[in-house]
Structures are given as structure tokens and as C-alpha cells.
């Protein structure tokens, strides 16, 4: 039992045991052994990464080539101090402050069919968190064709339709998709923090379930 004193940082061992105490011991261990890649660090990926860091997933790979822009702040897990920074660096800094006991790797490449296995090789679970539907399809196809990966993807989370319409479905043997499956980002239905956040939480929850060997969506 550790007691936090105001203004005094707990040491690493104390902090780690406090974090572990939040979980049943077996669950903490399984999550700590987990390795998850997040492809795209926008509204979905930045929020998924934060949730996975908070629950103590042991190793995260953060993949994005973009920098933080003002238009990102309506839904993505960045603030004004991050403007102009690489998203990988801005997010890694935040994750280190939230949970310093996990490992975070970064990759600043644009994902292509050719480099997909080089980038994701060590990660059995990949979150597809891109914006562009062609890139979503490219990543999912390349991962399913070239490797034995579990993919948790997203499709349809723009606008302000009911949050209850966002679901998690297992569509293929190794492919789960979260979203309402129909609402693209376009004029009148932009991407907004609440529904994007709901969808990100669906993806993070499916990753959590897979790490605990639960395959049902």
C-alpha cells in the first residue's frame, strides 16, 4: 500500500505497483506482455494510444508521418504546445507522462504495401486508424495478405448521429471493424470529438479483449 504525498512524485516501483493494483494481477500481466501497433495518430489513433497506455499495454508502436496542425485540435489528443511537432513525438511525450512503465516505439513513415511488413512485423495486433478510405483498404489488405495479424479497423464515425450506432463487428477471421459503417467525413458531417472518441474507445476495447484472449466482438 502506497500513500501519495501532495507534490511528491512516487518512485518507479511505487508507481508501477499502484498502476498494477488497478488491475487484477493476471490481467495486468497479460496486458504488460501485449504488443500493439497504431497506424495513424489522428482522432482515432491518438485517443486509442492514450487508452492503451492507461491500461498498461506493454509495448506500443506509433505510426504517422504528419505534424500536429490547428485543425487537429477539435478531436485529436494534442494541444497548442504540440503544434508543428511530429504526431509521433507529441504523442510519445504524452504517453510517457501518463504511463512511463510501457515502451513506445515510433515510426515516421508513410505506410505502403511495400513497407507494411517491415513496419508492423513485430506486432501481432494492428489498429487501423487512418483517415483516407483507400489507405484503410490498402493497410487492411496488405496486413491480411502478408501476415498473420489481428486488425482492429474503423469505418464511419463522422458527424453527430447517435453514438449508439457505433458498433464493433468481426467481419473477417482476423478483421474487426468499429464504426457506423456508413457516415464518411464530408461537408455537413465533419469529424467531431464525441463520435470519433466513441469509435476510438470501441477499437481500444476490442484490442483489450484480444489481449485477454476474448475473440468475440
Amino acid at each position: 500500500m502506497h500513500i501519495i504525498k501532495k507534490g511528491v512524485m512516487p518512485n518507479d516501483d511505487e508507481y508501477e505497483s499502484m498502476m498494477a493494483a488497478r488491475h487484477t494481477p493476471g490481467i495486468h500481466k497479460k496486458l504488460k506482455e501485449g504488443k500493439v501497433a497504431i497506424a495513424g495518430l489522428g482522432g482515432l489513433g491518438s485517443n486509442i494510444s492514450v487508452m492503451l497506455a492507461r491500461i498498461g499495454v506493454g509495448k506500443l508502436l506509433l505510426v504517422d508521418f504528419d505534424v500536429v496542425e490547428p485543425s487537429n485540435l477539435n478531436r485529436q489528443h494534442y494541444d497548442l504546445t504540440h503544434l508543428g511537432m511530429l504526431k509521433t513525438d507529441a504523442l510519445k511525450n504524452q504517453l510517457n507522462k501518463i504511463n512511463p512503465f510501457i515502451e513506445t516505439e515510433t515510426c515516421n513513415l508513410k505506410v505502403t504495401e511495400e513497407n507494411v511488413m517491415m513496419i508492423f512485423n513485430d506486432y501481432p495486433i494492428v489498429c487501423e486508424a487512418f483517415d483516407n478510405p483507400q489507405y484503410k483498404a490498402m493497410l487492411v489488405n496488405a496486413l491480411l495478405e502478408q501476415g498473420e495479424k489481428r486488425i482492429v479497423a474503423a469505418s464511419g464515425m463522422a458527424g453527430f448521429d447517435s453514438a449508439n450506432n457505433i458498433k464493433t463487428k468481426q467481419r473477417f477471421k482476423n478483421l474487426y471493424i468499429c464504426g457506423d459503417f456508413k457516415t464518411p467525413a464530408q461537408e455537413g458531417t465533419g469529424l467531431m470529438a464525441p463520435r470519433v472518441g466513441v469509435c476510438a474507445a470501441h477499437q481500444a476495447n476490442m484490442v483489450l479483449r484480444l489481449l485477454l484472449n476474448i475473440e468475440k466482438a
Binding site: D131, K136, V140, F181
Partner: protein
């Protein structure tokens, strides 16, 4: 043939590419599983569908 859980009568053999186009899919945004296995996008033109097949088609919309 079963497509996304629904039965469709397939009059004659058809390539996956032609089937997708006929159904109105944008083939750059899809992934297809046939009888439980992913179909490489490079094989959409040559892979032929039969009435006994079971396929799942996923089509992505933008946003993230």
C-alpha cells in the same frame, strides 16, 4: 452464393472484380474474404465466384 450473410443467386460464374463493380462497390476501398480466406486485390480480376461460394465484402468510408 452467400454475400455478407445474405443469399444471392448467381446465374453464371463471374470474376470478383466484375461482381464488385456490378454491385456498385468502389474497388479501391474494399477488402474481400472468400470462403474464410482473404482474396489478394491482385487476384480480383482472375478469381472466379461460383454459386457455392460464401464471400464477405468490407467497404471503408473516410474519417479518422
Amino acid at each position: 452464393m452467400i454475400v455478407n450473410g445474405k443469399e444471392i443467386v448467381l446465374q453464371k460464374e463471374i470474376s470478383i472484380m466484375d461482381f464488385l463493380k456490378k454491385q456498385g462497390y468502389d474497388t479501391t476501398k474494399v477488402a474481400v474474404e472468400k470462403n474464410g480466406d482473404i482474396v489478394s486485390r491482385k487476384k480480383f480480376e482472375t478469381e472466379i465466384l461460383l454459386d457455392i461460394d460464401k464471400i464477405e465484402i468490407v467497404c471503408f468510408v473516410g474519417g479518422g
